[in-house]
């Protein structure tokens, strides 16, 4: 059947709801819309002027269609990810009014305990559809929803969990968000993999003040997507009750059928400014009047009072909505602000488990803290592969993916042979979109899988930075309601030559991104222990594999066993001495050891092994003995992690110091390509030895 046949023309005859969905609960839809209207009014007339609500986004005009959509998310494993104008859909899922208002007011409890803006929703719901933690950045909602949908498909088809059959992921966005990278990343993944997913686009014609002609040619995203394969489009008027209901039902039923993603594109009026502060001076008066003429509320009233309820019923629902909102407002206003002493909690996994995301309730076998070396020395590549292999065999919820990780086995051959062994569903290539890779991992992790994405080179993580940051903050900003533990593997640093694209380290960017742990192993044994600890952990981890060390002879170690785990934040002292402490990690450990030997001085060499957390106690204990501290790293000097170490040493070991705390790093330049140039900037054995001498004789 041609696509056009399934796409109703605006104003065409009513379409029957797919029988599987059952009849629409019109009184429920009316209730949701009336609650939303009264919440908006309460905020606009009271709570914003009283400065009890600081950020307010009216859903007026979008509300009816969202209520219809929410009413259709009836599968226990459905998930929806919205944006700042998505409250009606959340109310339809059953989000408590007091929670919603208390969150708007930034009070204790609610979505975030006052940590995040009240319109940035999340809703962990073990008994029905959940709302994935949304983000404040437009477009960031798309790829995590794709991840959820892929997890649903993985559970239903690969793990054979029948409970997931028919579940879907639904993502909400305005038409302007269809211009974002996240939208296209998600669209490509969902259509290539035919994921059970609904793209729900509310087209109100404006992104704040920018007309949609700037977002897509002709201002009609669904028209432009007509040739997209594996995508069913449902486009029409989101302010007409019957038409909106039919389009939504069509999209939801299509996604549930397993035939691939649906694209529901509804035109709706935005009856207020973008936010309370936006006065819409950029809209002509007649346009505003025309938008108000399209207000779905009177149409809904006319529609339902003609077919499904009496005028008296409607009035009773209005009174009930007002009473419920008034009661919720009083209760929400009685909530205090959260205890400020708690605001540093829940950056990382703690004693209290999160309500949704990760595999904390399904821990793997107990690890062993002591290595049991077996066999010949192996290089870091093989060690990492063996660890992934062992964990894949233990954990059916673990998936490994990225660019070229499938048949090729990764550009560094880390995943070589794993797809053959575990199949395409568990070890797979992805589209060339780092935002798609990390964002998808977020949705999978929230669903309870263990995603192990690979970013091909350090700098290729740049397009994924938004998803990386939002993943790291998820636990904190949802006050431990959600978490997305994953292990991101990423090669860093030079290898024989340098260059600005494949060779940077820049670990500090992740250290500075709250919620991420950062591992920087220097050798095969540590790599095994840290990777296994990460894979069995409950936090997002950046596992940074140094390119120069992957096959370096120095980094080869015997495999420490399938149980070996190495706790994060425990440094290794690889050379013991009394005259100077060197703090380093990654590829610089080998050089520091060589320099220490060459210098003839008595030097402590400390391999930090992880930077978040880092072993401050080991460094301070060593400096208390040696009274001198040198930090060596490959990353750039200014703002590099060495500055943090130096500051802590100066602060906490001040009276121990008998020489300046010194750093040896790359200068503040991108990595140069020619090996002669590279050698001139990366700390060399000779430069480290000279610095050792300078500090010891200071």
């Amino acid at each position: 059947m041609p696509d056009d046949a399934r796409r109703p023309a605006p104003g065409s005859a009513p379409i029957e709801a797919p029988a599987a969905l059952g009849p629409v609960d019109w009184p429920g839809v009316v209730r949701t819309v009336l609650l939303s209207r009264r919440l908006d009014a309460l905020e606009e007339t009271r709570l914003v002027p009283e400065k009890k609500v600081l950020y307010q986004f009216s859903a007026r005009g979008h509300d009816m269609a969202q209520a219809l959509l929410g009413a259709r998310l009836t599968h226990r494993h459905d998930a929806i990810c919205g944006y700042y104008r998505s409250r009606p859909a959340l109310l339809a899922l059953g989000v408590d009014l007091e929670e919603a208002l208390g969150s708007s007011m930034g009070r204790r409890g609610g979505y975030s305990d006052g940590r995040d803006i009240g319109v940035v929703f999340n809703y962990p719901n073990p008994d029905g559809a959940s709302a994935l933690p949304m983000c404040g950045g437009v477009g960031a909602q798309y790829t995590p929803t794709v991840g959820w949908a892929q997890a649903v498909k993985y559970r239903a088809e690969t793990l054979g969990e029948g409970a997931y059959a028919g579940a879907i992921g639904v993502v909400l966005g305005g038409e302007a968000s269809a211009a974002t990278n996240g939208f296209w990343a998600a669209l490509n993944v969902a259509t290539t993999l035919k994921l059970p997913m609904v793209f729900y686009i509310e087209d109100n014609g404006y992104g704040i003040s920018v007309p949609s002609t700037y977002q897509t040619p002709g201002a009609d995203i669904s028209a432009n997507l007509r040739s997209f394969k594996n995508l069913e489009i449902f486009s029409g008027d989101g302010a007409e009750p019957e038409e909106a209901s039919a389009l939504i039902d069509g999209g939801v039923a299509h996604a549930r059928s397993g035939a691939g993603p649906a694209f529901v594109h509804l035109r709706v009026p935005r009856l207020q400014g973008h936010s309370f502060q936006d006065t819409q001076t950029y809209k002509p008066d007649d346009l505003v009047a025309e938008e108000w003429a399209r207000d779905p509320l009177p149409r809904l009233r006319d529609y339902v009072t003609a077919r499904h309820m009496t005028v008296e019923d409607w009035a009773a629902l209005e009174d009930a909505a007002q009473a419920a909102v008034d009661a919720a407002a009083a209760a929400a206003d009685a909530r205090p602000a959260a205890d400020p002493s708690t605001v540093t909690e829940h950056v990382f996994s703690g004693p209290q488990p999160q309500r949704m995301g990760g595999r904390r309730d399904r821990p793997g076998p107990q690890g062993a803290a002591t290595p049991e070396p077996e066999g010949a020395r192996i290089n870091m590549v093989t060690a990492i592969r063996k660890t992934l292999d062992a964990e894949l065999s233990l954990n059916a919820e673990m998936v490994v993916f990225g660019e070229d990780v499938g048949p090729k086995g990764g550009v560094h051959a880390v995943t070589l042979g794993l797809q053959d062994k575990y199949g395409e569903a568990r070890v797979f290539d992805t589209s060339l979109s780092e935002e798609g890779i990390i964002g998808r991992a977020v949705g999978m992790a929230v669903n309870g899988l263990l995603p192990v994405p690979e970013i091909q080179f350090r700098k290729y993580a740049d397009p994924a930075v938004e998803q990386i940051n939002d993943c790291g903050t998820m636990r904190w900003r949802t006050n431990n309601r959600f978490a997305a533990p994953m292990v991101v593997r990423m090669p860093v640093g030079f290898f024989k030559c340098g260059d600005p694209w494949h060779s940077q380290t820049n670990e500090v960017q992740f250290v500075h991104s709250p919620g991420w742990k950062v591992a920087v192993p220097s050798n095969a044994e540590d790599a095994v222990g840290l990777l296994r600890a990460a894979l069995r952990g409950d936090d997002p981890v950046m596992f940074l594999e140094h390119r120069a060390m992957l096959d370096a002879a120095w980094a080869r170690r015997a495999y420490p066993g399938d149980a070996y785990t190495l706790e994060f934040g425990k440094a290794a002292t690889t050379r013991a001495g009394d005259d100077l402490t060197i703090v380093t990690w990654g590829a610089m450990v080998e050089r520091c050891e060589a320099a220490a030997d060459e210098s003839g001085r008595s030097v402590d060499v400390i391999d930090l092994r992880t930077l978040m957390p880092w072993d401050e106690a080991a460094v301070l204990a060593s400096v208390a003995r040696t009274h001198r501290c040198l930090i060596v790293h490959e990353d750039l000097r200014t703002g590099g992690f060495g500055g943090e170490i130096a500051a802590v040493v100066a602060d906490k070991a001040f009276l121990d110091l008998d020489a300046p705390v010194a750093r040896l790093t790359m200068p503040d330049v991108p990595s140069p390509h020619n090996p002669v140039l590279l050698d001139a900037v990366v700390p060399s054995v000779e430069a480290i030895a000279a610095k050792i001498d300078e500090l010891v004789t200071f």
Binding site: F654, L655, D656, L657, D658, T697
Partner: protein
Amino acid sequence: MTVMVDVKAPAEQEGTQAIVKTWFKAVGENVAEGDPLVELETDRVAVEVAAPAGGVLREILVSAEAEAPPGAVLGRIDEAGEARATDGAASAVATPQTIPSTTGPAPAPGGRADPVDPEHRLSPAVRRLVVEHDLDPAAIVGTGKNGRLTRDDVMRFLEATPPAAFAKGPQPAEPSLADVPAPGAPDAPAGRLVPHTSMRRRIADHMAQSVATAPHVTAVFEADFTAIAAHRAKHKAAFAAQGVNLTYTAYLVAASVAAMAAAPTVNSRWREDALEVFDDVNIGVGTALGDAGLIVPVIRSAQTLSHFGVAQALHALTEKARTGALAPADVRGGTFSISNHGVSGSLVASPIIINQPQSAILGVGKLEKRAVVRTVDGVDSLQIRPMAYVSLTIDHRVLDGAQTNAWLTRFVETLETWPFE
């Protein structure tokens, strides 16, 4: 082309040790000729060194807290503006260093003057050890860069030296002192360490040296201030009208000058082979600076000054001392000193330590009304008079009782017979 001009410490300075206290400009900043550039602090005075030329401060060779020996090159100014003006002639100049500076001899050709900047600053670890073990860091040889004292140097010193031998404070001669544990020890009395200022160290050295050098003897007389009190009351306003504060000290200076005529060897200096007796009477007057210590500005050639002249000189010096503006010349060259110890309440102080290399010091006790017996027309009567004990502490190597008492007799006589007009 750059022309470098040296910024030098003054060739002469009061005291043996000057330390750079503050650089008012940072390297790279513009300076104008005559701008205050760097402040030196000796044990006695603070001295400002002005920029010898305009330009850009290029180098600081002696940084803050480091020693600045007389004549040392403290830094260099790049006279860039003038250098540009003479660019045409630049080829004739062999090196920038050989261009004569406007303020003194050029440095040795072809090289910088040796900055002579041994590293005296202590690292945190060394500082802690020095405090914990009450060490004198100057007594330990530094083997670090520029002679810096390293932690290992201190540890080696501690290992090599018996504990009793290195303490820089007084040896624990009395059991009660020996019982006092070092600061920081578990049973130490509660307290804190107040680091010595360079002035305090200088005073300590000076006092110990004086007592060790000169056998001190103190003679005490009594002086009736009635006459000078009356004179002062009469003339104070007139002096004030000319901006001069008339103090009792002015009378004490004048009376001291008068007393020198009765015993000229009081105004002298002991030398190994001879006694140097001065014609000039340069009288230093001790001025307290609170807890910081005291300073002794000098009225030069007091024998040439009128009473008003003495009062005026005193007034000027006192103001300078209080504002820290004393110049090295203001505290140099004293031949005799006066200690007004009575202003803070003491009646008699003994001995008052002689301001070496002088031979004597006058002490003036608290002025207070006392009942005294006076014979009026052959009849003894009890009278109330403003009285003070005055003392002369002498170096017994130089003076004996006869000169001492002759001096004090003339001194008291001068005060008591001060004419009313």
